[in-house]
């Protein structure tokens, strides 16, 4: 276990030394600051009635979180893809695995370190966002902690998947495939909500399957649910006969079976990554 923690702390230290953390901090401060200005204008600009503001604020929060979840996913894919294959190519890993450590400890350490970074980043930015939205508009999301946890889980899912790819593919290929499949899963989710609204069974089934194959969008949908008040959802459904087709509207919390499947999926992909890395010729 100590080797896992050593590699995890090394991975985190690398992110700090290479100024990855500083870059994300600056970008996040700018984004949260800009969103604060936008939320202030939305609630104090006088362009909307109070009813319209009540409808606009949750949507704006979801849009901000959507952009933020994309940043988390992109980061997970980028750092995950670089973690293994580029270190094998450069010869860094050869010096580490020669030590009395198991390869599984090295990969687990990297996974833990990168997941820790994603977790810290998600927690800090979500906390800042909740605070900024409250100070500027008075709006409080129903359960921002649950939403942040699901966005974090979404990032960990993609990180784990890209780490698996990175044990066999080049960093570039692993990163591109990770992002492409993340986008595809989101698109399949949007297609699924439309299919539900318009009763297109085949598309609905395909969308459902995709949510299980790569559970990123399923988790994102769960995050949306915890950001929108139930009164907002009711109003949206009443306002539009095809309200169910809105990809930024979640009608139900993610079922526990789905969350359980996500946990099983994570363990399976992680174990597959460990086996793949263990059998790889260095």
């Amino acid at each position: 276990m100590s080797a896992v923690l050593t590699i995890a702390s090394l991975t985190m230290r690398e992110a700090v030394r290479r100024r990855l953390v500083a870059a994300f901090a600056v970008i996040s401060i700018v984004l949260v600051g800009a969103s604060g200005w936008a939320f202030y204008k939305l609630s104090h600009g006088g362009a909307f009635t109070s009813g319209e503001t009540n409808l606009a604020l949750p949507q704006a929060v979801v849009l901000f979180m959507f952009m933020f979840s994309f940043v988390v996913a992109l980061s997970a894919s980028a750092v995950g893809s670089l973690a293994v294959s580029s270190e094998i190519d450069s010869g860094v890993l050869q010096t580490v695995v020669a030590r009395p450590v198991r390869r599984s400890e090295v990969l687990l350490g990297k996974w833990l370190g990168l997941a820790g970074l994603l977790g810290a980043y998600t927690a800090i930015v979500s906390g800042l966002q909740v605070a900024v939205v409250y100070w500027t508009s008075g709006f409080v999301e129903p359960d921002p902690a649950a939403a942040a946890a699901l966005v974090f889980a979404e990032g960990v899912v993609l990180l784990t998947f890209v780490l698996l790819l990175s044990t066999r593919l080049s960093a570039l290929a692993a990163g591109v495939i990770g992002i492409a499949l993340f986008g595809l899963a989101w698109l399949a989710g949007v297609g699924g909500t439309l299919a539900t609204a318009f009763n297109i069974h085949a598309l609905h089934t395909a969308s459902e399957v995709s949510q299980y194959l790569l559970p990123t969008n399923g988790l994102w949908q769960g995050a949306i649910y915890y950001l929108e008040p139930s009164s907002f959802v009711t109003q949206q459904l009443a306002a539009s006969p095809v309200g169910q087709g809105d990809p930024f509207l979640a009608l139900a919390a993610p079922p526990w079976q789905y969350l359980a499947w996500t946990a099983v999926w994570l363990v399976l992909i992680l174990v597959l990554g460990l086996v793949s890395f263990d059998r790889r010729e260095l």
Partner: protein, 239 residues
């Protein structure tokens, strides 16, 4: 089996130092941090990390550079650091893969001294090298590998199968001299020089005395031994 344990055994790997041929350390760490990282990975007790890092830096000649980032190091300095990492924890077995490929002559000499010190300490050093002269300088036993197959293993003397020869520059020898000197070995003339091959070891003084007794004047004697490179080429069928 390695050091009495199955290959790959984690406890045994604590006693093994390894310098890969192609490697790189984390460029964003300092040399001392790299050494401390490897102390941690070796599960060395924490109080000994700083002293072990300082000792390794000193042994490989990187005193005063411990707090510099590895990314600023030349290839030769990185190789020195790699050797320092391989020597951490006084390993019983050290595997060095082309340890001097990026070093200047002074660095190569330094590495040879380190290898001899390891041997004197009782450690086993596996040196993988394409520089046969290097093997001649430091190795007690040599294995010649080709395409993954062991062609020969033995001491340097055992591998140098051809017996010593000597090259001589002699004047004033009477006609038919070679019959009188045939017992020393096989003679050939090469311009102004005479070459005697397959001569028994230690007979050069006796040969010179015999030439002088015949009335010859010995102007130069160059004893020759087969180099490891010659043995290598011969084993590979390249000569």
């Amino acid at each position: 089996m390695v050091l009495g344990a199955p290959a790959g055994d984690l406890q045994t790997r604590r006693q093994i130092g390894y310098l890969p041929e192609l490697f790189r350390f984390q460029s964003w760490l300092t040399a001392r941090e790299v050494l401390v990282l490897h102390c941690r990975l070796m599960r060395m007790p924490r109080p000994g990390w700083a002293a072990a890092a300082d000792e390794a830096l000193h042994v490989v000649g990187l005193d005063g550079r411990g707090d510099d980032k590895v990314g600023t190091f030349s290839k030769g300095m990185q190789q020195r650091l790699g050797l320092g990492v391989a020597l951490l924890g006084e390993p019983a077995l050290v595997v060095l893969d082309e340890p001097t490929s990026a070093l200047d002559p002074v660095g190569r000499h330094h590495v040879r001294v380190i290898i001899r010190e390891l041997r004197d300490r009782g450690a086993t050093v596996f040196l993988n090298t394409h520089l046969l002269e290097e093997a001649e300088h430091v190795c007690d036993r040599v294995t010649i590998l080709s395409k993954g197959r062991s062609l020969a293993t033995g001491t340097l003397a055992e591998l140098k199968v051809r017996r010593p020869s000597a090259r001589l520059r002699v004047t004033g020898l009477p006609g038919g001299w070679w019959r009188r000197l045939a017992s020393f070995g096989r003679w050939t003339e090469q311009g102004d020089w005479l070459l005697v091959e397959e001569m028994a070891a230690g007979r050069v003084p006796e040969l010179v005395a015999a030439i002088v007794a015949l009335g010859g004047r010995v102007e130069a004697v160059i004893p020759e031994q087969q180099s490891l490179e010659e043995s290598f080429l011969k084993l590979l069928g390249e000569t």
